[in-house]
C-alpha cells in the first residue's frame, strides 16, 4: 500500500547519468525547470521531449517506472487541465451544459498539462539517478559559499540526509502499526471524515513514540562515534568534476541554445516569409 509511492525514490544503476556530479545534476535540474517556462509553443516542447528522452534513455531507468511517479500527482494534472480548458476566454469550440470549451482553452490545457508532466519527470530523474547521500553532499557543497552569510550548510545537509534516510524506516513502521491495529479490528477506510481522523490516533501515537525512540538511538550512536558537526570533517567520497560532467555541460548548452533559438530567432529570421 504505502510502499507503492515512487516519487523521490532512487533507482539503482551504473549509467552515465547516475555517475554525474550531483552538484551539476542539481544545477541542471533547476535550469531545466526554468527552461520549461521559456517555451511558448509546441515546437519548443519538441526540443524538451527530445532532451528528456535522451536523458531517460541514457539513465537506463525504465520509462514505466518514471511514469508511475506521475500517478501520485495525476489529480493535480487533471485539475490544471480542466481548469484551463473551461476557464479561458476565446473562440468557442463546443459547450457542455453551462461550460464552454474554447480553442484557446484547449490549447492552454494541453500546454499546461504537458508542462507539469515534464516538470515532474525532469525533477524525478534527479532523485531517481542520485543516491540521497550524494544529493545532500551536492547541496552541502553548493551551499558552502553561503557559509559566510551564516547559512549552516553542513547542518542543513546532515538534517536532510537523516530525514531522507528515515523516510523508508518510518513508512515501514507506519505499515507495521497499521497492520497491527487492523488485526485488532481497526478500520481506516469507512465512516465520516471525523471518524476517519479519529481512527488515525491508534497509528499516530505509536508512530510518534517510535520516531522519538529512533531519534534518540541515532543521536546516541552518532555521539558514540564522536560526531561534533562539520568543522574539520573530511569526506569518504570527494565530489570531483570529471570529463563526463564537462560533456553533460556541453550537451546542456546545446539544449538551452536550441530552446532560446526556437523562441527568439524565428521572429526575425522568418520575418520575410510570413
Amino acid at each position: 500500500m504505502i510502499r507503492d509511492i515512487t516519487i523521490g525514490q532512487f533507482y539503482p544503476g551504473e549509467s552515465g547519468v547516475h555517475r554525474l556530479d550531483p552538484r551539476l545534476k542539481l544545477i541542471l535540474t533547476i535550469a531545466f525547470i526554468v527552461s520549461l517556462f521559456v517555451v511558448r509553443d509546441f515546437l519548443g516542447y519538441g526540443v524538451v521531449v527530445l532532451a528528456l528522452g535522451a536523458v531517460v534513455a541514457a539513465s537506463r531507468v525504465p520509462l514505466g517506472f518514471i511514469l508511475r511517479g506521475l500517478k501520485a500527482i495525476f489529480i493535480i494534472i487533471i485539475f490544471t487541465f480542466t481548469m484551463n480548458m473551461f476557464m479561458t476566454a476565446g473562440e468557442v469550440l463546443f459547450r457542455i451544459g453551462v461550460l464552454t470549451v474554447t480553442k484557446e482553452g484547449l490549447y492552454n490545457a494541453v500546454f499546461m498539462g504537458l508542462r507539469l508532466v515534464f516538470l515532474i519527470i525532469g525533477s524525478s530523474l534527479l532523485t531517481l539517478t542520485t543516491k540521497p547521500i550524494k544529493l545532500t553532499d551536492g547541496i552541502e557543497s553548493l551551499l558552502k559559499p553561503l557559509k559566510g552569510l551564516g547559512v549552516p550548510a553542513h547542518e542543513l545537509a546532515m538534517m536532510m540526509t537523516i530525514a531522507l534516510r528515515f523516510i523508508p524506516t518510518l513508512l515501514e513502521e507506519t505499515d507495521k502499526i497499521m497492520k497491527a491495529q487492523m488485526a485488532r479490528g481497526a478500520d481506516f477506510e469507512t465512516g465520516s471524515i471525523f471518524r476517519r481522523a479519529r481512527s488515525l490516533v491508534p497509528i499516530l501515537v505509536p508512530l510518534f513514540i517510535s520516531a522519538f525512540r529512533i531519534a534518540q538511538d541515532l543521536a546516541m550512536a552518532m555521539e558514540a562515534r564522536c560526531y561534533r558537526g562539520g568543522d574539520g570533517r573530511t569526506k569518504l567520497h570527494e565530489l570531483k568534476f570529471r570529463r563526463r560532467d564537462a560533456v553533460a555541460v556541453l550537451l546542456a548548452c546545446v539544449y538551452f541554445a536550441l530552446l532560446i533559438g526556437e523562441r527568439f530567432l524565428p521572429a526575425w529570421i522568418f520575418k520575410g516569409y510570413f
Partner: protein, 286 residues
C-alpha cells in the same frame, strides 16, 4: 478453527528494482485445536505467510481457507476473519497507544461493536488469562509497564477479540529469561483453557520442541519439510541446510553420546532429558 493454505505465492515490490518473491508455492494444513510451529531463519517468509492468514496481505496467487471458507472470496467479511484469527506481530508492544491499559485492551472488542458490559468482561478475562493484575494495572498507562508486561498487554489486546485461532509471531523475542518463561506458560494456559488453534513462529528450538504438535520448516519462501517435532528434529542435516539448529536437549544428548555416554532416545523436553540421563546413570551404576 482449521486453516488451510494452498499454493500461496507473494511478491514484494512487484515491478520495481526491489522486487522479491517472499512466498513461493506454500501449502499447509492446520487442524482445529492444533498447536503448530513455523520455524526458519530470518527472511524465510514466516512473517509474510502468517499475515496472509487473516487477510492483511493479499496473495499474488493461491488460497487461504479459514474454517473451510476462502477469505479472498467475494462477500467475505474481513473484519470477522480478523476477529477469528488473532494475529500478534513481532514486538507487539509498539502497537500500544491508549491512556490506560484498560482502554488499550478494550480497543479490539470496542471495534467489534460490543456493548460496554461485554467489553468489560472481555478485558477482565483477557487480563486474567495473560496474568495481568486487573486492580493494580488496568488504570496505569501502558507505557509505564515493564517490557514483559507490555508484551502481555499486547497479547491481551488480541485475546480480548475472542479469537478462534491465535497466531503469534516471535512472542518471546528480546525478553529476559523470566518473562520468556512467563509468556510460554501463558501460551500453554491459553491453549488449555480455550482449546483454540495456535500457530507459533519462533527462533527458539527448545520452545518449539516442547510445545508443538507439528512443525513446519520454511526456507527461501518455501516449506522445506514438516512433521512432528520428533520427526523434524531427527533430521539434523536438513535443518542445518535451512540455517537452523537443534533444541538444547537434543544437542545435550548428542554431546553426551559423543563423550561416550550411552543415552537411549532423543529428548525433546527438559523432563525427557532428565529421565533419559537418569536411566543411563542407573544402567551404568548397575
Amino acid at each position: 478453527m482449521s486453516i488451510v493454505v494452498k499454493n500461496l505465492r507473494h511478491v514484494y515490490g512487484e515491478g520495481t528494482p526491489y522486487e522479491s518473491v517472499a512466498l513461493d508455492d506454500v501449502s499447509l494444513e492446520i487442524a482445529d485445536g492444533e498447536f503448530v510451529s513455523i520455524i526458519g531463519h530470518t527472511g524465510s517468509g514466516k512473517s509474510t505467510l502468517v499475515q496472509h492468514l487473516n487477510g492483511i496481505l493479499k496473495p499474488k496467487s493461491g488460497e487461504v481457507l479459514v474454517g473451510g471458507v476462502n477469505i479472498a472470496a467475494k462477500g467475505v467479511n474481513l473484519p470477522e476473519v480478523r476477529r477469528k484469527i488473532g494475529l500478534l506481530f513481532q514486538y507487539p508492544e509498539y502497537q500500544l497507544f491508549e491512556e490506560t491499559l484498560y482502554k488499550d485492551i478494550a480497543f479490539g472488542p470496542t471495534n467489534l461493536g460490543l456493548s460496554a458490559d461485554a467489553v468489560d468482561s472481555r478485558v477482565r478475562e483477557a487480563m486474567a488469562l495473560t496474568g495481568l493484575d486487573f486492580d493494580a494495572l488496568s488504570e496505569r498507562s501502558p507505557f509505564e509497564l515493564s517490557g514483559g508486561q507490555k508484551r502481555k498487554a499486547a497479547i491481551a489486546g488480541v485475546l480480548a477479540m475472542g479469537p478462534e485461532a491465535l497466531v503469534l509471531d516471535e512472542p518471546t523475542a528480546g525478553l529476559d529469561p523470566r518473562s520468556h518463561r512467563d509468556i510460554l506458560a501463558m501460551i500453554r494456559r491459553i491453549r488449555e483453557e480455550r482449546g483454540i488453534t495456535i500457530i507459533l513462529i519462533s527462533h527458539n528450538m527448545g520452545d518449539v520442541a516442547e510445545v508443538s504438535d507439528r512443525v513446519y520448516v520454511m526456507d527461501g519462501g518455501r516449506i522445506a519439510f514438516f512433521g512432528t517435532p520428533a520427526q523434524v528434529f531427527a533430521n539434523k542435516a536438513r535443518l542445518k541446510q535451512s540455517g537452523l539448529g537443534l533444541p538444547p536437549t537434543l544437542e545435550l544428548a548428542e554431546l553426551l553420546r559423543a563423550g561416550g555416554a550411552d543415552i537411549e532416545g532423543d529428548p525433546l523436553t527438559l523432563d525427557e532429558a532428565v529421565e533419559l540421563i537418569d536411566a543411563y546413570l542407573e544402567r551404568r551404576g548397575a
